[in-house]
């Protein structure tokens, strides 16, 4: 597990915690929960840029390269999709949808780390 994973671990858990809390408190998605999901996207973007730099620098990916990029691309689609979904219906349940993003990104980052090393 590298630094990219731990960044996503922290940001993902914080985001999921914030969104879960807001959902339990019966709040509709607000700037706070949506921005926390945006932070997950930012963390994934850092992973993407860092990975591109490492590949250009000549570091090999141990597993299947396209599997790694597939995971990363799919993970990066989740936050925008969840935010769009939460804007369509502004109820507490959308906060639970947003909460799912951080945990899912975390699991996918763990898998991406496995593929890389």
């Amino acid at each position: 597990m590298d630094a990219y994973f731990y960044i996503i671990l922290v940001v993902g858990l914080l985001s999921s915690g914030v969104c879960l809390g807001a959902g339990i408190l019966k709040k509709a998605p607000n700037d706070f929960t949506i921005l926390s999901v945006a932070a997950v996207e930012l963390a994934l973007l850092v992973y993407l840029v860092g990975s591109i730099v490492r590949v250009i620098a000549g570091e090999p990916i141990a597993g299947e390269a396209w599997e790694f990029w597939g995971y990363l691309a799919t993970a990066m689609l989740l936050p925008p999709a969840a935010v769009y979904w939460s804007i369509l219906e502004r109820t507490r349940w959308s906060n639970f949808v947003l909460a799912a993003v951080g945990v899912t990104a975390l699991v996918m980052a763990a898998r991406m780390n496995q593929i890389w090393y």
């Binding site: 599997e67 597939g70 799919t74 989740l78 969840a82 979904w85 219906e89 109820t91 349940w93 959308s94 639970f96 949808v97 799912a100 899912t104």
Partner: protein, 150 residues
């Protein structure tokens, strides 16, 4: 849990069911979101398995593909309104429940014949048992949002 009692509040139930026969609001949105994540991951995994190593375990990877298809159908049908989509949802969720139970049991009792991983192997242990929990929640949700009988 507030069970909808049609006898106690007929007017309210009628108004709700008459206006919209949908399952994509409230908790349903979370359910659809989780189904969508499983649809994507199961499809990607099954596609990968079939393209790269299908001959190793055709049965297991075919089951992976069926699981993926079930998740896709469940995701789409839960998001759609109307009675037909309700029936499709019900069928998909029931197939999913049977699948996870049968494949889960097979992988436990006959691991020799079933060595290769699928979403439903060991009752979905590789996915935090969410595949086992999902159809149960799906059935509860479908029951609560069932179309009213004419």
């Amino acid at each position: 849990m507030k069970a909808p009692r049609s006898g106690a509040t007929p007017a309210k139930a009628e108004g709700k069911a008459g206006v919209k026969d949908t399952r994509n609001t409230g908790p349903g949105r979370l359910l659809i979101a989780v189904y969508a994540v499983f649809a994507i991951s199961a499809t990607a995994r099954a596609g990968y398995q079939i393209l790269t190593k299908f001959s190793e375990a055709p049965l297991a990877y075919l089951l992976s593909a069926i699981a993926a298809l079930v998740y896709v159908v469940a995701t789409v049908s839960l998001a759609k309104p109307g009675r037909t989509w309700f029936r499709i949802s019900l069928a998909a969720v029931l197939v999913e429940l049977v699948g996870v139970l049968v494949v889960g049991a097979l992988s436990v009792f006959d691991p020799v014949a079933f060595p290769h991983e699928t979403v439903w192997s060991l009752f979905g242990r590789g996915y935090a048992f969410i595949p086992l929990l999902l159809p149960v929640l799906g059935l509860v949700w479908l029951y609560r949002r069932r179309p009213r009988l004419q």
